[in-house]
Symmetry: C2
């Protein structure tokens, strides 16, 4: 699938939820009114129909064929833990499914195959219509064994080796290209890449994007400028020491594999008297406000658009429940948020943190 | 209820989940085998019974009376968003309920009363056996209107004005006493308290704990040493400027309302040449590893034991589904984690961050 096209193909439009809200009734009532079934007061039915017309609501074929759904429930199974990457995904997914009247069971298996199996049994016992599997880490995981393979399963922010599965992931490589091309556009020529452990698929892909962007601009990859370590601020500080200590020529920009590394690097640069971004521009990855807004200066960062990932996962799951067959790896575009760590003319962020 | 007794009253013991795992069967199968119903191979039944005996499993009266449960599902409704305080609560709760074969629906209403009502309708339509209401912020919220009041509702990390409701909260005041008594035990006498917005109930309670601990030790509250601002690192830095700039006498310790404030304060102290903890000891609140371990030095902090809060919420919900009537505000104890920001002799934390 074409990752660039994914966002455009799901325009926002009025949902049954919007209609219910405008008419001041429950989703169930709105649905009955529009489908012409159930026992409702004529007045209620007319109010719902008027709201649907005013909002331009069109129940689509996909929603209509949701009668295939048995229980109007789906499960979300995390295989390690609900970390900060997972919550925006789950939240947006839950929102999207709720618009179709589908409720979400959440289960956490904490890296325990036995618990995972027990959870799956429990979900199957509840006759869920679909399953979404997610994980904090972006490594390939074994496929979930669903009896009979009849139930739709989507892997989101997680990848499996089953070629028949549908996996939704952020476009890590494209995101890295955005970050590095931004630094190149600012005239930077000696761009180092400080990243996380090379065992992460995302680390490999982000490095590939970094290399792609340099090559496209005709810039060489400088020896020793790609460094792997932990996903931590401490590693960001340490990597700066490695790249700058006693060096005749130093980087004029750092593209970092996450915001914690970027923040540590920014602190280390300031403490050695280098100005960010005048002497060294810095771009992070994740656009995690706890890091980007607290850093001095605030960090430019690549955003994985996790809420969009969750929303699209909801769409795909609904389509699959309605009978569509989807498979393969779909990568959704990242975006770049520019702040003062790369561009001193960017607007100051407003507001407090929590 | 006595908050000190809460942890002790729930000893860990073998659950139906443990038995199922040991016997290599699903929870449903284990349950059937032990209750003597359902169609199972004799061999399976014997394997389960043997595992139950080996583990000392005793199905308790509470679990037995769970036959009152209609659907073996409960709902979790967040009224704003699934923030970082909510994850550990929800995760531990889900774990606890899964042990009893109860599945969890999650719904997020994003501060929208209409969505909240729609979610509640949907959950009631699924015939949930109980509801847990939570929120990122610790403000009092209106009670959820459940028709007929027949369904158990618990508010966790959230408080309502309904005197018939059960609310589970961390003991903010007791947590603050722990943090301040620790600083006093280190010989500190000029302890300032930098906290969040005074409109938060937790801020008022933590300040009360600070005042209690000072009073108990016979130390005066020094004028201007209690300061309110945002929950941010920037406010921590600013508060240090306010407390130290041009002052003849300065604090020898800072008790901070959260870890972001503590981290900002620690950075500001270091940057003005003051040593932490030798010149000024610092204690934060939340024990959020992203902040406590990345700070230089690592931060001592009060831990709200959110997983324990989630686990106890699960217990209480099960008890209420089984027919117990519980009400009132129950506060669970916090604990203190000592690191180098207050005690230079404490062990260095190990391991990386993510």
């Amino acid at each position: 699938m074409d990752s660039d096209g994914s966002q455009g193909s799901y325009p926002e439009r009025a949902t049954i939820r919007d209609v219910a809200r405008a008419a001041g009734v429950s989703i169930g009532t709105a649905s009955k009114a529009l489908n012409g079934n159930g026992r409702l007061k004529q007045e209620t039915r007319e109010k719902v129909v008027a709201a649907a017309q005013a909002l331009g609501f069109r129940p689509n074929a996909m929603a209509q064929s949701l009668h295939r759904a048995k229980s109007m429930t789906v499960g979300i199974l995390t295989t390690d833990s609900f970390g900060r990457f997972i919550f925006p995904i789950v939240e947006a997914l839950e929102e999207r499914l709720a618009e179709h009247g589908i409720a979400v069971f959440m289960c956490n298996a904490t890296d325990d195959p036995v618990r995972e199996k027990q959870h799956l049994d429990q979900l199957l016992g509840k006759r869920i219509d679909g399953l979404l599997v997610t994980a904090r880490r972006m490594d390939t995981r074994p496929a979930i064994a669903v009896p009979g393979k009849s139930m739709p399963v989507i892997y989101v922010f997680s990848q499996t080796d089953d070629p028949d599965a549908l996996c939704l992931l952020p476009d890590d490589q494209g995101g890295a290209v955005l970050g590095v091309e931004h630094l190149i556009s600012l005239g930077r020529k000696r761009i180092a890449h400080i990243s996380g452990p090379a065992s992460f698929a995302a680390v490999v892909l982000r490095h590939q994007g970094y290399a792609d962007a340099l090559a496209k601009a005709g810039l060489p990859e400088i020896d020793g400028y790609y460094r792997n370590g932990e996903w931590s601020e401490a590693w960001g500080r340490e990597a700066v020491a490695e790249l700058f200590d006693g060096k005749a020529e130093i980087p004029d920009a750092l593209f970092c594999g996450n915001d914690q590394i970027a923040r540590g690097a920014t602190d280390a640069l300031r403490e050695r008297g280098l100005r960010v971004p005048e002497d060294v521009a810095v771009v992070g990855f994740d656009n995690w406000d706890v890091m980007t807004l607290a850093a001095r200066p605030p960090l430019s960062s690549v955003d994985m658009n996790l809420r969009e990932l969750g929303r699209v996962a909801g769409e795909r799951l609904i389509a699959m429940i309605a009978g569509e067959r989807l498979r393969g790896v779909e990568r959704l575009p990242c975006s770049l948020v520019v702040r003062q760590s790369s561009d001193p003319t960017s607007a100051k962020p407003s507001g407090g943190l929590q």
